[in-house]
Point group: C2
Chain length 499, copies 2
């Protein structure tokens, strides 16, 4: 390998190791840190994050990139690595220092205001901060790519290669179909899921979580499960990937499905192996947020809420449930954990209505960024959209446009990733089933390894070497097509609800 | 405050925060890290430790010290801070880089050889490494203080201000008395402690540990308890001090007393408050290893194995012990946890014979460093000493001179701290009892706060501002005198064994 490439990789790896130290500081803060540790923990994180930033913006990287980008005879992997490195280097170096520090300051103020505004159902308290976050994101987009429409620049930060147009095209089909499926479900009798509210102790739920980590193929030598207020997955090292869950005593499915969801993220992180030359570099990062989300949704919903999966595992879970599932038939349990009901809160939404929550946010944030929607008109526009697409009436902003943290942090362009994740997952699933005829039989027999093997080979091992659009095309043979997702939902829910 | 002093403090604080990040990496490695995380964890630690070292040897510190040491009108606290800072700066900067890297390399080889040698009872395998560690420590002593006897320089690294002479004087009295007390105990019938081997589940032991942390006044907002293979205390932040223990199912006193021991270390760390000007600096460090050990021994042995203490807590512990203590009277329990019996292994030794283990190591390591004992003669000398002082026959080197890790790491001069800790603790105890007539009545009523308050005021709050010898003199009114310790032992064990 070229000396310059080796040098670039070595700088990149050191930066990566430092980000893992920051991840440990964050993980510990959410899991075990005693409460009074928080003040110094903030100082510790600042030191490590500054160090990671210094390593990332090292001018030596810019020089190496300039030199290597001019080289001939670059291999495919080398080209991919230079593309990924260039993208991240530019993202970290193109923003003026003044803008970076103003964003940091304003984000902190904005988040604090959002917490208060949500608590007191007081949108006016948050509105000026939202306006500031929009202004700063316009400046950011302009600094990163002055020629492009700002919302496209922001979208590209999370889902590389996407534009408002490309997402709008996909979401239009998806929205039409989701509204139709939701309407069909509404016309049918609702399933009973009251047995899911029976008490199951945290210790029993922890045993279930460990059981499902094993069933999915989670390598416990390379990761672990702990509890946290909000479930998350974090990478503390190339071979140290941890997930968290929480145990709600009167709603045990919360921990079961959050553990499976986070395990899906972790399996992806564990599978990001691009060979020893590039291990620990940005080439071994995830392809995108949406691809990451496709892995968690694949395991949580497509596999983890399927009848074959529960056919294999329900008999093991009933005796672990301390009597809560006595007398509950498999079919009823399956219907219970797949109950669909339009509601107000995105994070509590089912598989069908979830996409509509995301589409609403996509439409609203693109209008905010383009100036087509004034900040003070957001609550009304929000409530109208929720009424039109989900058929729900929003009683207050707390359960409306103040429910999510994202805009208060200036994360415009992030929401679409959640829905794209579902679309990618369903398209991967269609291809996987076509290529492995025995797939569902294996899952029904308790063996998820054919699914994991397929994901490892087709998705995980590509890591960041392909753009998400290239990855989908290569893995499935066609470009992103939302009909895989809506077709999957129609088939599944017509069987459950009988329409 | 002078600008230069503020600058020095700011550099020192940043270094301190970085050492706490390293402490988190170490804590996590011993408690929760999945096993495959170890390779990258070593890289992470190397980065953080290098960074801490860079901060510690910053030439700016040297310049600030030179400037400030020449200033007039320095306050007592300023002088103390400059003394501590100078000492640490010199320790970190006076060693030639070549020696530092050779020590790192040889220590790693030596430790690996020691592990093998101990496992295979093969002293010859370790002997050449021991010789190398001695040579390197002689070079280190010469670099740090070329005019002084090498063993004095090494002792001073752990117990500042101590010399071979000062320690030998104290140990001579102690050795004479310990041999005498041990002989008296041997002449009496042995106590029964078989009930301590009854099974108590880890969960019950964990409840006991939490109970005793509460009883001692451990602030659970500023710390926590976890499990690890070898119990330890570590400081992850000014307000984040963690202890660990281990649960041996057929010997629950192990976790009870190790938790109390580590909580004693943690209470000291939590009490190192020298005011806001110097918080987070080296002035807020412990006075010495031996003073640290005095705090753990005070709580574990002097208070934690006393009859008044168990009079208050035994009634709470019996119902937590899952039947193991049914029918065991308080007096018998007290005698059981204070059983004295000379044995081969230092870390398992009781309060009386422990000091003799340490004195043997002190005598042997000083002879090794001075060249009065050849490496190949160590096993014979060890076995002779153990026979003469403890009356035990050493069956093999594994249970003899290969049992401790210290010399394999080049930590010559460390052992005396353990015994000095017992001496300091007993002398503090004598003074505390004289100053607080109701002390033992409070402890007997379950209230340890008068003891903690006294330690906070007289010991913890001084932090590193006084030399250990100054601290003992100020807190107790007299210089270190081993008769407090041996007097305490004689009184306690003559009552237990009836001599």
């Amino acid at each position: 390998m070229r000396e310059a490439m080796k040098k670039l990789i070595s700088l990149d790896r050191e930066r990566g190791v430092i980000t893992h130290i920051a991840a440990l500081l964050g993980w510990d803060q959410e899991t075990y840190m005693p409460e009074s540790g928080i003040d110094e923990r903030a100082e510790q994180l600042a030191i490590v994050e500054n160090l990671a930033h210094e390593k990332a913006v090292n001018p030596g990287i810019g020089e190496l990139l300039n030199r290597l980008e001019g080289e001939k005879d670059l291999s495919g992997q080398e080209k991919a690595y230079l593309r990924v490195s260039r993208r991240e280097y530019d993202k970290e170096t193109k923003l003026p220092a003044g803008l970076v520090s103003e964003m940091a300051r304003q984000t902190s103020l904005s988040q604090a205001a959002w917490v208060q505004a949500r608590k007191n159902n007081d949108f006016k308290r948050f509105a000026p901060h939202l306006a500031t976050m929009i202004r700063l994101n316009l400046e950011k987009a302009s600094a990163l790519n002055p020629g492009a429409p700002p919302y496209d620049v922001l979208l590209d930060l999370y889902e590389i290669g996407s534009t408002e147009r490309s997402i709008a095209d996909v979401f239009a089909v998806m929205k039409r179909d989701l509204v139709e499926i939701l309407g069909a479900i509404r016309s049918r009798p609702q399933s009973d899921d009251s047995f899911l509210r029976r008490r199951v102790s945290p210790a029993a739920q922890a045993r279930m979580s460990q059981y499902f980590m094993g069933a999915l193929g989670f390598d416990k030598h390379r990761g672990r499960l702990d509890t946290a207020a909000h479930p998350f997955t974090t990478t503390l090292g190339r071979d140290d990937i941890r997930i968290t869950t929480r145990y709600i005593e009167d709603y045990f499915p919360s921990s079961v499905f959050s553990t499976i969801h986070e395990a899906g993220h972790a399996l992806y992180e564990m599978g990001l192996e691009v060979g020893p030359d590039y291990s620990g570099t940005r080439l071994a990062d995830a392809a995108s947020m949406a691809v990451h989300e496709s892995q968690s949704r694949m395991w949580e919903n497509i596999i983890g809420r399927s009848l074959p999966f529960w056919g294999a595992h329900y008999g093991h879970i009933v005796p672990m449930a301390e009597g809560a599932l006595e007398g509950v038939a498999l079919e009823d349990f399956y219907k219970g954990v797949n109950r669909v009901e339009a509601s107000l809160i995105r994070t509590e939404a089912d598989e069908v209505s979830y996409g509509l929550h995301v589409i609403a946010r996509f439409e609203l944030e693109s209008a905010l960024i383009k100036g087509d929607l004034a900040v003070e008109d957001l609550p009304g526009a929000w409530n109208d959209t929720m009424h039109q697409t989900l058929g729900v009436e929003v009683p207050d902003d707390r359960r409306g446009c103040l429910q999510d943290i994202h805009w208060s942090m200036g994360s415009f362009g992030y929401f679409p990733s959640y829905a794209l994740g579902n679309l990618y997952a369903a398209q991967f699933w269609t291809a996987m089933k076509a290529q492995i005829p025995s797939l569902e039989r294996s899952i029904a027999a308790g063996d998820c390894s054919p699914a994991l093997d397929w994901l490892r080979e087709k998705v995980h091992r590509e890591a960041a070497a392909l753009l998400p659009s290239e990855l989908v095309l290569k893995a499935t043979g066609s470009s992103l097509d939302p009909s895989h997702f809506t077709g999957y939902l129609r088939k599944k829910y017509s069987a459950i609800y009988g329409f």
